[in-house]
Amino acid sequence: MRVNPNPYPDILAAVERTQQQVNTDEQEIASGQSVNVPSDNPAAAASLVQNADQTSQADQFERSLGSIQGEIQSADSTLNSVTTALQQAIALGVEGANGTVSATDRQAIATQLQGIQNQLLSLANLPYQGNYVFAGTATQTAPYVLDSSSPSGVTYQGNTGTNNVTLGSQFTLQANLPGSQLFSASGNDVFLSVQNLISSLQSGIGIGTAVTGVGSALSYINEKQVFYSNASSQLTAQQTYLSSETTQLAEQQNTIGGADLTAVVSNLTASQTSVQAALEAVGQTAQLNLFSYLK
């Protein structure tokens, strides 16, 4: 059989193919990624799109969680202050209930209690970054205003709305309790109980009952405070989960699209050697033909 007398196009094509592989390998090494364009591995490229979306979501959940966490902590510590204020009110009430206290002293105690009531009002009107935390979802107006016509001395202007915030693909957290469930819950109205104590101190009648009323409002608040401490610990747990999810997603991303550098570098070396060998072969055979020997 007659041999193809011109093998150079083949050799060049082979060199070109190897060179292309060299370029791909170099790109992989430079980027650290085995999927640099979708055609490198279409299925992996599609998985990477989903991975990037999940990673972006997880990062956002962490940011959102941070925003919510501040508000929850602020509400929690405010309820601590409410507890302290109510404990003071009870102490004052117990002091006023003592039969040896004069009417003038009871008046003075009542005045002190009015100070506490003002403090409670400002605690219930807690703002957090421009929003009233205990206003339900009517967050742009202060939930409690002084109202002398109301038996409790205040009126609740907020609503009963609550917000649920998605902070994970499987995790939604209720982020607030409205004032109507905290300070002005029917039967356990904080303001009413304090107002009753003030009135009873002023009149000297039913102080003990009024103190008991404040006491039950206090235990109600403590009960409700569990909501915030629960939320707080749920957030902490979710934060841990999200950061492990982020790590997992990064690992997954690396498994799908990361370059196997050891393999790539060894391929690269092999390719370079083969290009060099092919070129050397061309260089040597090119000088050989019968004409060279006819002298």
Binding site: P9, P42, A46, A52, N164
Partner: protein, 458 residues
């Protein structure tokens, strides 16, 4: 009885024939690097003998012809494969440009979809905050821009492919007219019994080039070839060529016409076939997917907007300008309908701090609102399709390249000029020439002897 004169004539025929054979070698050596050149082989035959009773005497050698060595079947296979190669070359390079739009970056559609839903998640934590609301509008704007940019880039690519269609048709017309002309030259030569080897080589070369450009059928006939397109529209018959025309269609792209018939859809291979495939099938398919994604997403977001209340307590209005009802062009025209961040309907009950509707908007990101898939999953499907198209086309390109290379090797092993072979031939012809010359010298001596002998006796 033989004569010295007859022997001299016989020796001379050897000189002439070897000289002619050497010319073939010379031509082969000169064309060693000419693409498409088929080597020449001299066909030497012994001349008709004469009968001088009782002897039959040879009268020397004749250079009957100089043949070009080629395999027509192989050449037709090469032309077929060249068409496939041309198709996948242009398809691959077109699609590789396309997929650049779908490579993960900070501004690709996938990233912007994530950013958009992320911004809504942030809004959910503080629905009344204007700067957070502005963040949602900005993310929606970026999302619209990424759809616009990608769709426009695909359309632009379609237009530049269209330009290449027109240019390729021009090249095809040039080649067919050249082939028709060569047909004429070949039949003129062959009609007078001359060898038309080099013209046939040129024609083969031109047909190869034409095969790179489009799908053709080559029908050899007497001294000439007839060329048609894949579906039978005439390109060349004898010395006449038929031009292809291009004409703008309703979508602003050029269709290819042959003598009044639209043959665009029937052109499937060659560079023109690949270009048309990318322009008319692959890129429009991707655009349609983007339109589906853009319009379904915009409609879903607008639908949820309408169910909620903005910061002023009014019912929500469209966040995105409603996409065209058919969805066609939705990606290119996607835009944000509002500039006032307070108009985002985050509230589900009209109160400023409610995030109920923001949560509903956010939930769209994980709902199967795009042809049964979530937005991000649908987009990842688009990326898969684009990547798969490129990877298939480039695999076909590589495969056909290897087949073509093998076929070319075969052609070269049949038709290619080997310098070793030519050197050997040269030596062979040269020594035969020298031998014939030696014979002439000898006969010359013999004639001299005869002449001198006559002088002596005279």
């Amino acid at each position: 009885m033989s004569s010295l004169n007859a022997s001299l004539a016989t020796a001379l025929s050897g000189l002439t024939a070897e000289q002619g054979a050497l010319e073939a070698t010379t031509n082969n050596v000169a064309n060693v690097n000419t693409p498409g050149y088929s080597r020449l082989v001299p066909v030497l035959v012994s001349s008709d003998p004469i009968v001088v009773d009782p002897l039959t005497l040879g009268t020397g050698v004749t250079l009957q012809s100089v043949e070009s060595i080629r395999d027509p079947l192989l050449e037709s296979q090469i032309q077929q494969e060249t068409q496939v190669q041309g198709q996948f070359n242009s398809l691959t390079s077109a699609l590789q440009q396309t997929q650049d739009n779908f490579t993960t970056s900070s501004s690709d559609i996938g990233t912007q979809i994530s950013n958009f839903f992320d911004s809504i998640n942030q809004l959910s934590t503080d629905p009344a905050d204007l700067s957070v609301r502005q963040g949602v509008l900005t993310a929606a704007g970026n999302l619209a821009t990424s759809f616009n940019t990608t769709a426009n880039s695909l359309t632009q690519q379609q237009n530049s492919l269209d330009l290449s269609v027109v240019q390729t048709v021009g090249q095809i017309n040039q080649l067919t007219s050249q082939i028709a002309q060569l047909n004429g030259q070949i039949s003129n030569l062959q009609n007078v019994g001359e060898s038309a080897g080099s013209f046939i080589d040129q024609r083969t070369q031109a047909i190869d080039q034409l095969s790179t450009l489009t799908d053709i059928s080559v029908i050899p006939s007497n001294n000439s070839v007839t060329l048609t397109t894949g579906n039978g529209a005439a390109l060349v018959t004898g010395q006449q060529s038929f031009t292809l025309q291009t004409q703008l269609n309703s979508s602003g792209l050029h269709d290819v016409y042959s003598q009044g018939d639209d043959i665009t859809a029937s052109i499937t291979s060659g560079q023109l076939g690949g270009t048309l495939q990318a322009r008319d099938q692959q890129i429009p398919a991707i655009l349609t997917q983007l339109d589906t994604l853009a319009s379904s997403l915009a409609n879903a977001v607008n639908g949820v907007q309408a169910a909620g209340f903005d910061l002023n307590g009014n019912a929500g209005t469209n966040l995105f300008t409603p996409p065209p009802a058919t969805g066609v062009g939705a990606a290119a025209s996607l835009s944000v309908a509002i500039t006032d961040p307070s108009l985002i309907a985050a509230s589900s009950d009209g109160s400023t701090g409610s995030n109920g509707n923001a949560e509903a908007l956010y939930a769209l990101g994980s709902q199967t609102i795009i042809n049964g898939q979530t937005p991000s999953d649908y987009y990842s499907g688009v990326v898969f399709n684009v990547g798969n198209d490129v990877s298939n086309a480039s695999a076909e390109q590589t495969a056909s390249g290897l087949v073509l290379q093998q076929l070319n090797d075969q052609r070269s092993s049949i038709s290619g000029v080997s310098l070793d072979e030519e050197a050997a031939n040269m030596v062979q012809y040269q020594s035969a020439y020298a031998a014939a010359a030696q014979v002439v010298t000898t006969i010359n001596d013999m004639l001299y002897t005869v002449v001198n002998m006559a002088t002596l006796t005279g």
